[in-house]
Amino acid sequence: MTATLRQVGLDIQDAEENRALVDAIKADNPELTIRHLPGLLKLQAAGRLVINRETVEQKLGRDWDTGEFQLAIVSYAGNFSEWDDDQIIVSWEH
């Protein structure tokens, strides 16, 4: 059980075009902590982080492909355990 609680993280560029994305991640991951470093936002959560296309589209007010996340990400900690049309999930596997 403790194994699933290890921190996973996403580092995202601190930019205007990523505001809605970060809001969506905040909405879908209530336990999220955000640390500001120059130029980037460090998002961390215990065990698992999820990005839902629908939430991002709601916040953004337009269509959004999960592939567009490639434009926002700087780095991450964990493993992409899912990346399909609707969802991106970062977690540790074992």
């Binding site: 996973v8 900690a77 074992h94």
Partner: protein
């Protein structure tokens, strides 16, 4: 919003799901060879002893297809070039925190940019010679990425070359200059290994374990010191880097899952390459703590955040499932986190008369910051050294080390690190091979040497090469000329051409009331 929804639904039905698109455009483009054998087509994937039973076990979590790859890469370049243009057009270089900041960028273009090119070459080789279509395509994308990184870095930094010294001849310097043999020899070591060891060395140890520690501090440092272009190319490159990290993690999991016999081989490579990559990151440690006029985060804090928390705390418990343990000698790296940057910058400060950047004794303000970051070591062990330099400089002097340092046979850094448990004793390891003595700087480098002595006895050690007469001559000016270092690129920052130009540009701006 309300109008977009039905359009989106219509579009989604036309488009194949990501998983299917990936399967069709990546995996299904592979074919079975008919008129040559597999061993002839892929001759390099057996001699390292790695056993692969099913190449289709390789997963790419990004599910990248060639059309998506070019679409997103083009968008990244477009964003980057907009930043570069506006920075150049607005004389953005005058808004840097200080001209001495650019020493970090000189180190970057001389030390790191050529590695991007080396990575481009080697991933092109993997894109041809790995047997599975999925890793081949991932390697192809990475090869193109690395070329993009090399080109965008050259293009970005060329703007500074118009105004500041030390930015010319970096490619020649990478092949010749003493401190640049540290990164160069690491990549040469990786590129002369087999394809699987290369994946563990560069994709896993370098890209996954340590990339954050190597790149993110440079980029946050750039952001904090007014260097928008470097920050932009850095983050643009880092977005590719997260794909490269994924390739590294996928590579290790794939190899471990394929056969139990792979586990000890992989563990040996992790043990070797953690230490190799970590030792090279010592240069980044010195940069972070001493070269940024406005420091962002200490080396120690970055090491704890990105390596101890995320890797030792997060990744290695995951790999424990496969029987992989944290890298050998990791405890030595942890033990020296309070010392590393100070010892490295002392070396650079002592020898910058032979470098293509300048150094300076930390100011009182900077020294206070260092004392806050390193309360257990800086005030007692390192501040007194800088105070001594400051006294000599106040009297009109500048201390440079006269003579050439002994280099570690493996990492090629001057032998100036101390014992993990005794900051007063130089860590000095001795090994014998074929009746000759070889020296290494640490338990980690000695272990690596003794594991493959026949490889490391061939090292091109810059100091040995000078003594053997291969570097332009026997005097400092002759060697500097051979290095491509011009007068003013090197030495002390205060009073250097960069410092004088900076003062002049800002004085005239002040006089005009700008």
């Amino acid at each position: 919003m309300t109008q977009a929804a039905p359009r989106a639904a219509a579009q989604k039905t036309r488009k194949l799901p990501l998983k299917e698109r990936y399967a069709l455009l990546t995996r299904d483009l592979d074919w079975e060879p008919s008129y040559v054998g597999k061993e002839q087509l892929f001759p390099y994937t057996s001699y390292e002893g790695i056993k692969i039973h099913d190449w289709d076990g390789w997963q790419d979590p990004f599910r990248l297809t060639v059309d998506a790859y070019y679409k997103y890469q083009a968008e990244k370049d477009k964003r980057l070039y907009a930043v570069l243009d506006s920075f150049a057009q607005s004389q953005g270089h005058l808004g840097l925190s200080d001209a001495s900041y650019l020493n970090a960028i000189k180190l970057f273009i001389q030390g790191v940019t050529p590695l991007e090119y080396a990575a481009h070459r080697h991933f092109a080789y993997l894109a041809r010679y790995l047997e599975g279509p999925a890793p081949r395509f991932a390697a192809l994308c990475q090869s193109i990425d690395e070329l993009r990184h090399c080109q965008t870095q050259i293009h970005t930094i060329s703007n500074y070359n118009k105004y500041y010294g030390g930015f010319h001849s970096w490619s020649k310097m990478h092949d010749r200059v003493w401190y640049l043999s540290v990164p160069k020899s690491l990549f040469d070591d990786a590129m002369s290994a087999g394809p699987f060891e290369f994946l563990i060395s560069i994709s896993f140890s370098f890209e996954y374990l340590l990339t954050n520690l190597l790149f993110v501090p440079f980029m946050s440092g750039a952001s904090f010191n007014g260097d928008m272009p470097t920050m932009s190319f850095g983050f643009s490159a880092q977005s590719d880097e997260s794909r490269h990290m994924t390739l590294g993690l996928e590579a290790i999991k794939f190899l471990l899952e394929q056969d139990e016999a792979n586990v000890p081989i992989i563990q040996g490579w992790i043990d070797k390459w953690f230490w190799r990559a970590y030792r090279m990151s010592a240069l980044v440690a010195g940069m972070m703590d001493y070269m940024l006029p406005k420091p962002v985060m200490s080396w120690k804090e970055a090491f704890e955040l990105y390596f101890e928390d995320q890797m030792l705390g997060g990744l290695f418990p995951d790999l424990d499932f496969y029987g992989i343990t944290p890298p050998r000698h990791v405890e030595d790296a942890i033990a020296e986190k309070d010392h590393l940057s100070h010892q490295v910058y002392k070396i650079l400060h002592n020898f910058s008369f032979a470098a293509s950047f300048t150094t300076q004794t930390p100011s009182e303000e900077h020294s206070r910051w260092l004392a806050e970051q390193y309360p257990a070591t800086y005030p007692q062990l390192y501040k007194p050294v800088w105070d001594k330099h400051a006294r000599a400089e106040a009297a009109g002097g500048r201390i440079f080390f006269q003579g050439l340092p002994q280099l570690c046979q493996v990492c090629q850094i001057p032998m100036a690190f101390t014992e993990p448990d005794d900051p007063a004793a130089i860590s000095f390891r001795r090994s014998e091979y074929r009746g000759e003595t070889f020296h290494t700087c640490s338990n980690g480098c000695q272990w690596i040497f003794e594991r493959e002595p026949e490889k490391y006895v061939q090292a091109w050690l810059p100091v040995h090469q000078i003594y053997q007469g291969h570097c332009g001559g026997a005097t400092v000016p002759e060697v500097l000329q051979w290095y491509g270092i011009q007068d003013g690129d090197n030495g002390e920052y205060k009073g250097s051409p960069d410092a004088r130009s900076w003062a002049q540009w800002h004085a005239s701006a002040a006089a005009q009331g700008v």
